[in-house]
């Protein structure tokens, strides 16, 4: 079958792009409409959010059309700087991320329509504005084609999400989270500003088009790449720049956490791809080592911290860190391959990266929304006070299970596909002409699989402690399932996970345009079997989730039938076995801390652990363990200490005595006069 690739030729009329801009404007208008009656839940929740969701769907459709068309559309709007009007561009890379934004925001917005209610800090109407501005800004980031528009959109995105994070600003912890978040976002944006400044390469044009054609020396190009890695890494949550992430995600309302984790982090990935593979032209292979190594470290770091968390949203946040690690590992591999001239394999690695982005958008949004429903139903984020919710909230529980299995990387769901692709691209590194990398790769691969396996551990902990077992608190008996809008949203995302898992081939075909754009190659497809996913033709490797699932389902059904038909036995309900000890209580179940224990034990150097152990004679023994990140002490505290020290030094300048101030003026005058005289 021919893959439908059109070579990048500017379309005469940017119809799809105008459509996208219109939809982004539509989001803005919807947001502003929320201000008409800011306190009305009905207006925001029942009308505006679902409307926004529909726009999201429309955006996904447009983006999908653009992706299949494979063309490039450009548009210049007469706003922005006087010398630099707003350049917009819709190409396959933008399209795939717009698709991601539109499709996942459809589910999230629907959910949000049912989620937000009065009395939770910010008024619904204002939330509606912030939320839709956030969406529109993310969209604009993806289609911006000059540095100024990009940065404006980038920071509006940060700002809107900051306000969303601090919805419940009365809680000091949340304020702190918001502050760290915005600070990191700003520092990241500063890096990006520098990066674009380097990228323009002296031509002094800040359109991306000019940057593509700028000729940078290797040194400057490397600087630009490093700055991009810093700037986008800070947004994506690459260790050690991830510190805002586990603070901000739990602080935000769940639909916002879902958007931030599922979509916003991907805009950083988009930026990294845009700069690393598009604006910088053909990358140098050893650039890839930085994202590769950082990504690997991030995987392990994120998943380990996820494993020891006791707050369900923090756990998911660290899991996002891990997944971002996966994505950056993929980016690193792509660059290593592309820089070494191995285009097809680079395309494979890029495919894995993009696929993982798509997957993560769906599954992490699903999980965050699931925790949102749990939070609403129980008011509890602490894993130690949850449990047994599968009985009370079957919709949430079963839909979340899909997300859990998907993110644990189990076939036939979507998480597995991208991990599979990533591992496949690792296995190709034998081709690389660099001995050092060839040695690095086995270790890298080991870390990736270790991370993937640990993710399974984390997810069992997450799901098991929240939904399974017996409720750990009496109050959980009053928990209720989520409303219909929320159900639709969750179902949409779960369906996305399943579809991405079952039809990888179709997705990969659609992604062909992107890989062609970025690395100049597409992963060839088997032409005989539409259901066969074979990444490279000269290797007989394949994966067919549909067949695979069918086989498994068939076997399971046959087993069920066989058992039912052959052994028609009664069954009885009874209390769980108590080992004869009597009075088992729900609190005797293993806890989240317990689940963290082996990890804490095994990977002690990663953690900074504070433990409070009970004495043997305690009447009310209490066990408490707090796990902190060493990163704070190793990186951030020295920085803030240094600034503090400098500030104190600067403060010595100002002692309050006017004589001293006059002396400053005097000396300044004398020194400058001398300078002027001697010049």
């Amino acid at each position: 079958m021919m893959h439908r690739l059109v070579h990048p030729v500017a379309a005469p009329f940017p119809m799809l792009l105008i459509g996208c801009v219109g939809l982004l404007l539509g989001w803005t208008v919807i947001g502003l409409a929320g201000l008409v009656r800011p306190r009305s839940v009905v207006l925001a929740g029942r009308l505006l959010f679902p409307l926004g969701a529909l726009l999201g769907l429309a955006l996904a459709v447009l983006a999908g059309a653009s992706l299949l068309g494979g063309g490039i559309e450009r548009l210049i709007l007469p706003i922005g700087l006087p010398n630099l009007p707003m350049h917009l561009r819709l190409d396959p890379l933008s399209s795939i991320f717009l698709l991601l934004l539109g499709a996942s925001s459809f589910g999230i917005s629907l959910f949000a329509g049912g989620y937000f209610r009065v009395g939770e800090g910010t008024a619904p109407g204002l939330l509606c504005l912030q939320y839709h501005l956030f969406l529109a800004a993310m969209g604009l980031v993806l289609i911006a084609d000059d540095a100024y528009s990009f940065l404006v959109a980038w920071e509006v995105m940060a700002l809107a999400s900051y306000f969303l994070v601090t919805t419940q600003h009365r809680i000091a912890e949340i304020r702190r989270a918001g502050f760290i978040y915005l600070l990191m976002a700003h520092v990241g944006a500063i890096c990006l500003l520098l990066c674009f400044g380097v990228l323009q390469g002296g031509g002094w044009h800040f359109t991306f088009h000019a940057m593509r054609s700028a000729h940078l020396s290797l040194g400057w190009a490397t600087v630009a790449f490093a700055l991009a890695l810093l700037g986008f890494g800070a947004k994506a949550g690459l260790v050690p720049l991830h510190v805002w992430l586990p603070e901000a995600h739990p602080a935000a309302p769940s639909p916002v956490s879902a958007l931030m984790s599922g979509v916003m982090l991907k805009t950083a990935v988009y930026g990294m791809l845009r700069v690393g593979l598009d604006l910088l032209g053909r990358p140098v292979w050893w650039w890839g080592l930085a994202p590769l190594i950082l990504g690997l470290f991030t995987i392990v770091y994120g998943v380990l911290f996820a494993a020891v968390q006791t707050d369900m949203k923090r756990l998911l946040a660290y899991s996002s860190v891990e997944n971002i690690g996966m994505v950056f590992t993929g980016i690193g591999l792509t660059i290593v391959f592309a820089g070494s001239g191995l285009k097809v394999i680079a395309a494979l690695a890029l495919l894995a990266t993009l696929y993982h982005c798509l997957n993560h958008a769906f599954m992490k949004s699903l999980l965050f929304l699931g925790t949102g429903s749990v939070l609403h139903a129980t008011g509890e984020r602490n894993l130690g006070r949850l449990g047994g919710l599968i009985h009370r909230m079957p919709w949430v529980a079963w839909l979340t299970l899909i997300g859990t299995l998907a993110i644990a990387g189990l076939p036939p769901l979507n998480g597995f596909v991208s991990e599979w692709l990533l591992l496949q691209s690792f296995l190709f590194t034998g081709h690389l002409p660099h001995a050092f990398v060839n040695l690095l790769i086995p270790m890298a691969m080991a870390l990736v699989v270790l991370g993937a396996a640990l993710a399974g551990y984390v997810m069992v902990k997450f799901y098991g402690v929240i939904f399974l077992g017996q409720p750990r608190e009496a109050a959980l008996a009053r928990a209720h399932d989520c409303g219909w809008l929320e159900r639709i949203g969750l179902t949409w995302l779960a369906l996305g996970c399943v579809a991405l898992g079952l039809f990888p081939l179709q997705v990969i075909r659609a992604l062909g345009a992107v890989t062609h754009q970025l690395v100049g190659a597409v992963v060839p497809q088997s032409s005989s079997h539409w259901w066969l996913l074979a990444p490279v033709p000269d290797r007989s490797v394949s994966y067919e989730p549909l067949v695979f699932l069918t086989a498994t389902l068939a076997v399971v059904l046959m087993t069920v039938l066989a058992v039912r038909l052959t052994y028609r036995q009664r069954e009885r309900r009874g209390p769980a076995w108590d080992c004869g000890a009597g009075n088992l209580t729900a609190r005797m179940q293993d806890t989240a801390e317990g689940f963290g224990q082996p990890i804490r034990h095994l990977f002690r150097p990663f953690f900074q652990i504070e433990r409070e152990l009970p004495e043997p004679t305690d009447r009310a023994p209490r066990y408490r363990v707090v796990v902190r990140e060493r990163i704070w002490r190793l990186v951030y505290e020295p920085i803030s200490g240094a600034v503090e020290g400098l500030a104190n030094t600067a403060a010595r300048l100002q002692q309050g005595r006017i004589s001293v101030y006059l002396l400053y003026s005097f000396l300044t005058l004398l020194v400058l006069l001398a300078v002027a005289l001697l010049r």
Partner: protein, 222 residues
């Protein structure tokens, strides 16, 4: 030096006198004496202006001289004396740097000012151009005085003396400034002194003294 015409010698000696007065103000600790020295400085300035007016025949210099005389020799000293009497400040406390030290620094400053004035002197076409260095020195010495004083009143004297220096500079380098500017300057100085008067009373009312160490609470260094 001996070939110089009389008026030139007179001007030079006026300039020297000004410098001397500056040093005197720098070392003087009694506030009343400071005001008197200031008045003398004004008088010398007025004399110089008059001399220049007579020599160059520029009418506006007569006006300027009259203005200086009225303002700096009569009005301001009178106002200041009144203030000092009402506020009962007579002596400054020990300056921050002792007198000999201050003088030494002043000497260095004079040398610096003279070397600085070289290019200006070369440029100026006036008869008094050699005095520019002195004007600069007067300004800088007044600056030094402000730095080393602890009483609000003496600081103000430094400020006024500095203004004199600038005016002398203008005289010696270019026979004064355009009239409109000079009028504006005079108005400003007058208003400044009035405002300062208000200030002194406010400060005294609040702190019972005009010592500047009361005014050191707004600062960054704790």
């Amino acid at each position: 030096m001996t070939h110089l015409p009389l008026y030139q010698q007179l001007l030079d000696s006026c300039a020297a006198l000004l410098l001397l007065l500056s040093f005197a103000m720098l070392s003087q600790r009694r506030v009343v004496a400071l005001v008197n020295l200031y008045a003398v400085q004004g008088a010398v300035l007025a004399a110089t202006t008059l001399l220049l007016a007579w020599r160059t025949g520029q009418d506006h210099l007569y006006v300027s001289a009259a203005l200086t005389l009225a303002l700096k020799v009569m009005l301001l000293p009178w106002l200041l004396h009144r203030l000092i009497r009402r506020l009962q400040v007579h002596r400054d406390t020990e300056p921050l740097l002792n007198v000999s030290g201050t003088m030494l620094v002043g000497l260095v400053i004079v040398v610096f000012a003279f070397s600085l004035a070289q290019p200006i002197t070369r440029l100026a076409s006036t008869a008094t151009r050699s005095a520019i260095g002195i004007a600069l020195a007067v300004v800088l010495l007044a600056f030094l005085m402000m730095i080393t004083r602890r009483k609000a009143v003496s600081q103000v004297m430094g400020f006024l003396s500095m203004e004199n220096g600038v005016l002398f500079g203008a005289m010696s380098a270019s026979y004064g400034m355009p009239m409109i500017v000079e009028l504006g300057m005079a108005l400003d100085v007058l208003v400044a002194v009035l405002v300062l008067g208000v200030f002194f009373f406010q400060i005294r009312e609040r702190f019972d003294s005009l010592d500047l160490h009361h005014l050191e609470s707004l600062k960054e260094h704790q």
